[in-house]
């Protein structure tokens, strides 16, 4: 009798633990999801994902306050770096794949060594930064303070190096370094291209009517893609400041009774990334769809559906054969490109 009670008790505990575990996995995936590998582990929305250069590993960060390293061949978490308490809002990977910079809601950005796990705190700026960008040579990290100034830190020492004086209280949420590390793009509705050495704006790109969420330079540094809350993605010629084309994706993909339905409405764009050869542009947004575009013409090439919530970031694998996308559905999807 005692043994039966014990077994029933254990079974109940196991069922309880299993349901807790399942609830932590995020929204349940319908049976008809697209052909992609789904990486699960984050216990809240995933807001950033990137491949480590020259590697099969990817790194992600989330509102659960963790940074996770993934083996893209298996979709298994190799390492979970606890990055302190509170939400992580953005990440940036260095060119050597040895460190990742993160921005936290608590106002303490950090550069984390992927080998030792040690953290170098970048602090002192006002409020928090919605984005962070590590320079291609890994020497500098840029954050955008709430008072409108962009702070440049020495990524090795964590010391504040210089400030790009922005307009008072005109903060933004998108930063990107040019591949040669000489320029930094910052995006509100208007995008500014800063020359770092004198610390001045050398180009202004106007066209968006709401906040730019993400900026990405092409590998040759000549073009810049901007994904914005105004539901558009724009591609710019950086040298001339000319807008090359505007992409306005339409089609909100959602599941109802396990059936995929696409509603012809447009929603904010959150992510853009050029392929390593610069020929393809990947985008994502609140419509939950990952899209591939011809980067020369702006023609839609393919759509990938499967995420159950907004897509927050997209990144190509170093060899350009795969794409990863992060989402507020707590997952990362790994897409094989056709």
């Amino acid at each position: 009798m005692k043994r039966r009670i014990l077994i029933l008790g254990l079974a109940g505990t196991l069922v309880g633990m299993a349901s807790l575990f399942l609830s932590a996995l995020g929204p349940a995936a319908p049976s008809s999801e697209s052909g992609s590998a789904e990486w699960k582990g984050h216990t809240a929305g995933v807001v950033g994902v990137a491949f480590l250069p020259g590697s099969d590993r990817a790194v992600s960060c989330g509102l659960d306050g963790t940074v996770r390293l993934w083996d893209s061949r298996t979709g298994v978490v190799g390492k979970t770096l606890s990055a302190g308490n509170g939400e992580i809002l953005a990440l940036s990977v260095d060119a050597a794949g040895r460190a990742v910079a993160i921005s936290r809601y608590d106002g303490k950005a950090a550069v984390i060594s992927l080998t030792s796990g040690s953290e170098k705190i970048l602090a002192g700026y006002k409020g928090w930064s919605a984005d962070i960008a590590l320079s291609p040579d890994s020497r500098r990290a840029a954050v955008w303070a709430m008072d409108g100034d962009i702070w440049i830190f020495d990524a090795d020492s964590g010391k504040h190096e210089t400030t790009l004086k922005g307009q008072s209280n005109k903060w933004g949420m998108a930063l990107a370094w040019s591949p040669d590390g000489k320029y930094l793009a910052s995006g509100r509705a208007t995008i500014s291209i800063w020359e770092i050495a004198p610390g001045r704006v050398v180009r202004t790109l106007e066209g968006h009517t709401n906040f730019v969420r993400n900026l990405a330079f092409s590998p040759d540094g000549r073009r810049l893609a901007s994904a914005a809350m105004d539901k558009s993605i724009r591609v710019w010629d950086v040298t001339s400041g000319r807008e090359e084309f505007v992409l306005k994706p339409g089609g909100f993909a959602f599941y109802a009774d396990s059936k995929l339905i696409t509603e012809p409405i447009s929603l904010p764009a959150t992510a853009a990334s050029f392929s390593p050869d610069g020929k393809t542009l990947a985008t994502g947004g609140a419509d939950r769809v990952v899209r591939l575009w011809d980067a020369a013409t702006g023609k839609l090439m393919n759509e990938y559906k499967g995420h159950l919530r907004a897509v927050t970031a997209v990144a190509f694998s170093p060899d350009g054969t795969h794409l990863v996308s992060s989402s507020l559905d707590h997952s990362i999807r790994y897409w094989k490109l056709e």
Binding site: S23, P27, P268, A286
Partner: protein
Amino acid sequence: MTEITVTELSRSIEILERKNRRLTWLVLGLAAVVVAGVLGMTAFRSRLQGSPVSGPDGILRVRGLSVVDGTGTERVFIGAPVREPLILGKRFPRGGGMSGILLFDEDGTERSGYCTSDGYPNVLFTLDSIGSQHALFMAEPQGDTAFWIWNGQNSCKVTVGETEAGLKISKGGKAILEVPAAEAAKKGEAR
């Protein structure tokens, strides 16, 4: 009936004494656990009653309350003050203190609020799309009240004050209906 030798008897007594000692220790141990439990519960209850969480009147007092859905995504927040808005995974500054109730969609993006503002004491109710406000119903402390709905440059605004009331509908940024028309015309001339 077998005879019990003195040796056997003394051995039995020894065993019994040992059992007795064990039982004594066991009872003492259990008593200690019970006493510790009672003391702990008493301390916990007194601490709970003395804490700001629950007063002696049985009213729950908290600075914030978060309601999450089955995936752990926050869907309702009641707070004084409420937190900065989360929109598609990014935090925006609110630009002023607010206390009240917020609603979030399944992405966790803030979509509605029913709040009073700190500083200048307005009370307001908002409805938002993903990333933009589209409806605002607001009462100011002196009684002026307004209702606005808008999408881009198309808008409708109804205002009432102590001495006047008005309606203005705009399309593409230009007024297509303005009531009272005379006052609108006067304002236009004044400009």
